[in-house]
């Protein structure tokens, strides 16, 4: 297909100094038609698989969409009733706060550790490549597997983590990582950080590769090495990549569902319930699809803020 594009544009380019204006116009129009034709599959794909679900979800949130709707096709309009019941539920504020803590905690941890590792791996040392590929491991594991394994590791009585801490003599009784209302969220954030590190390292490492060595040499001549080199060379040069990583990370993290479901299912006592898990529970456990959709749309709205931010940041990054 790509060869066709070249040929078509090539022909059009040839046609420009053509003999008559009418012919030139004809070519131009045809070229425009071709352009649209090539856009069509992508546009159709977007409308089908992104546009339709989003519109459907918005409509659903204004309907009394229950299990019977699937059989009868009837879903009466209820206005803002779904939003009202979702937003007035005592669980909403808990979920909102948890979502904010989960997202902020995960992003902070993933980014700081990811950046640290990226800078570390920029140095040349033996086994660098192998270690770097090992770091990708969390990314390769299906999330449901990671959460099952972490559930064992974090078990209070027989979990590997508590056994390890006990053998070091740091604790005498097991810490209830996943079953204490004050620790569960932190534990879940910890696991999510582990999962998010590869993404951060990969992108930030790529950004670091783009910084020319000459800059460091010049900085070294001026006496800036180590921390000062990082502050005055690495960080400013890396900033465009950093903003992209952060904004993408936020959007990814807001919608995290499988890890929380696999680790705690939103418990104990809703202490790890987020808007995403709450939306899932409403739709697929309580079968209140309308309310689930309303909750989902709240999340979409929040993500949208960051998506707009991403587009702006991205444009600036490209411009730079």
């Amino acid at each position: 297909m790509s060869t066709t594009v070249e040929r078509v544009s090539h022909r059009a380019a040839e046609a420009i100094p053509g003999p008559t204006g009418a012919r030139r116009l004809g070519y131009r129009r045809r070229e425009r038609v071709y352009q649209w034709l090539f856009l069509l599959p992508a546009a159709a794909y977007l409308v089908l698989f992104f546009g339709y679900p989003v519109v459907k979800n918005v409509l659903m949130s204004f309907q009394d969409y229950s299990t019977s709707t699937f059989y009868t096709g009837e879903a009466p309009w209820v206005g803002f009733a779904n939003y009202a019941s979702v937003l007035s539920s005592s669980l909403f504020s808990t979920s909102l706060i948890n979502t904010a803590l989960f997202t902020a905690g995960s992003i902070a941890g993933q980014f700081v550790l990811g950046l640290g590792l990226a800078v570390f791996f920029k140095q040349r040392f033996p086994l660098n490549g192998i270690l770097r590929s090992l770091l990708l491991l969390p990314w390769l594991l299906p999330l449901i597997v990671s959460s099952a394994v972490w559930r064992w590791i974090l078990d209070k009585d027989s979990g590997a983590l508590n056994n390890f801490l006990e053998s070091l003599g740091l604790i005498s009784t097991g810490i209830p990582w996943l079953t204490s209302t004050s620790l569960a969220l932190a534990a879940v954030v910890g696991v999510n950080i582990w999962i998010g590190i590869p993404f951060n390292v990969t992108v930030l490492y790529g950004g670091l590769q783009d910084i020319p060595d000459e800059l460091y040499e010049a900085a070294a001549l001026d006496g800036a090495t180590g921390w000062r080199a990082f502050r005055h060379v690495t960080w400013p040069m890396l900033r465009p990549v950093v903003s992209v990583v952060l904004v993408l990370g936020v959007v990814y993290t807001l919608k995290v569902l499988d890890i929380i479901l696999g680790l705690t299912n939103g418990g104990p006592a809703n202490s790890t319930q987020t808007i995403a898990t709450q939306s899932y529970a409403l739709s697929f456990q309580d079968f209140k699809f309308g309310e689930g959709a309303a909750m989902g749309n709240v999340l979409v709205l929040i993500s949208l803020v960051f998506a707009v931010l991403y587009l702006r940041v991205n444009r600036r990054a490209v411009d730079e």
Binding site: M1, T4, R7, V8, R11, Y34, L37, F38, L40, P41, A44, Y45, L48, S66, T67, S68, T69, F70, Y71, T72, G73, S89, S90, R151, D155, K156, D157, S158, P176, L178, T179, S180, T181, T264, N265, G266, G267, P268, A269, N270, S271, A281, F284, Q285, D286, F287, K288
Partner: protein
């Protein structure tokens, strides 16, 4: 010029093909059922996708099919995806001829109008206990019948109890003191599952129900007493607080590993327990508050239904399959192979005599209560409230009474 034209055609073709996808998809769904006359094939959907259940149920279905002169086209879907699949099939009018449902989901699906009442096909409902029929009933009509059922009871490690000089507890006081005595070192006295799913609710029901608690309103002193018992057991350290995150399979692992002397669990764990040569276990009713109370178990098991597919001939054949699955012989054979209990009272009695290990379950199942018996379609929402209250109380965020009150008020 030529090459450009050819590729335009190709592109146009690609576009039409893409745009055509939905048409093709809906075309599949709308294919008309073969009209009238002999029915040669019956489609079946169930969630028995693990052995030995997969083969046991599959073979029984095959046998029933050949008895009715039809071939069986069976699809097994993992339990968690079944309802989503059924709803999709309902909206695209592609429901199978015979559908298996977990009993607490039956009323939800029957409420949509997707199922046919079994009385339409003159399927007998005689000989089933009240609880089992009510699990398959929606608005006074029976829509589903379970060939075999189950419930939960108290498993105990015979050797550990004998060593500690403890007899299997019958009352809550006995349970508390037994669990305390059996707790030492790495070993907890008791294990149950209090996780944030319907499984957690299901494990709590026998305690709540046998004390007179009721799911319609959980803000009562009877239910609070039951929850107080669980809270005491966890607070005193007789039950690990990990129970808040365990599944029933995890609970079984703890019991098998010798980390719990007793556990609340169901007969489906028996195959795993039987594999442990050194493990001697017994099964008794879940303890009740005092001798004046009777043990009430929650009813588990799957019902077979006939969806409204619009093809009367096929529905009639499907009903024959459902009736055949529920015949006395098949109930007995499937119960034996799957460590579950035949649902008909008379068959269950015969079964208990032949399989003493399952006798206490057979006894419990007679009076077992269906989760949806009272609330029907409203059960999922209330079940969520129950496990939320359990978790709130067990993590000491509120007293049992307050936790139940908060949960009931939403």
């Amino acid at each position: 010029m030529k090459s450009a034209f050819v590729s335009t055609k190709a592109a146009a073709l690609a576009v039409t093909a893409l745009a055509g996808i939905p048409l093709v998809l809906s075309g599949c769904g709308a294919s008309p059922a073969p009209g009238g006359g002999a029915v040669s094939e019956i489609t079946v959907v169930d969630y028995y996708n693990n052995e030995p259940d997969k083969s046991v149920i599959g073979n029984t279905l095959e046998a029933c099919g050949s008895q009715s002169g039809v071939s069986i086209k069976r699809e097994t879907i993992p339990g968690k995806s079944l309802i989503a699949k059924v709803l999709q099939q309902a909206s695209s009018k592609t429901l199978p001829d015979v559908l298996m449902l977990d009993n607490p989901d039956l009323q939800q699906i029957a409420g949509t109008g997707a199922l046919a009442p079994l009385s339409d096909f003159k399927i007998s409902t005689d000989g089933y206990p009240e609880g089992i029929l009510s699990a398959g009933t929606y608005k006074d009509k029976v829509y589903g019948l379970a060939p075999t059922v189950n419930t939960i009871a108290l498993f105990y490690n015979k050797d550990v109890l004998a060593q500690a000089g403890v007899t299997p507890p019958k009352t809550w006081e006995e349970l508390k003191s037994a669990a305390a005595k059996l707790t030492s070192g790495d070993q907890y006295g008791l294990a149950f599952n209090a996780n944030a799913t319907y499984e957690g609710t299901w494990q709590f029901l026998p305690f709540m129900w046998s004390n007179g608690g009721d799911e319609k309103n959980i803000d009562t002193s009877e239910t609070a007493e039951a929850l107080q018992l669980w809270t005491d057991l966890v607070d005193s350290g007789s039950v690990s607080s990990s129970a808040l995150n365990w599944t029933q399979a995890d609970v079984n692992d703890q019991f098998v590993a010798g980390k719990a002397a007793m556990m609340v669990n169901g007969p489906w764990q028996i195959p795993v327990l039987e594999k442990q040569a050194s493990l001697q276990y017994g099964v008794v009713n879940i303890p009740v508050k005092d001798a004046s109370k009777t043990a009430v178990g929650p009813l588990g098991g799957e019902v077979w239904t006939v969806p409204q597919t619009g093809n009367k001939d096929k529905q009639a054949k499907a009903a024959e399959i459902v009736a055949c699955m529920n015949s006395d012989e098949n109930q007995l054979a499937m119960a034996k192979a799957r460590n579950t209990i035949p649902s008909k009272t008379a068959v269950a009695e015969q079964f208990a005599a032949e399989n003493p290990k399952l006798a206490s379950f057979a006894d419990l199942v007679k009076d077992a209560r269906a989760r949806t018996g009272q609330l029907g379609e409203d059960w999922p929402a209330q079940a969520t409230k129950i496990y939320t209250a359990i978790q709130t109380a067990l993590t000491d965020k509120a007293t049992p009474a307050d936790a139940l009150k908060q949960a009931q008020e939403g």
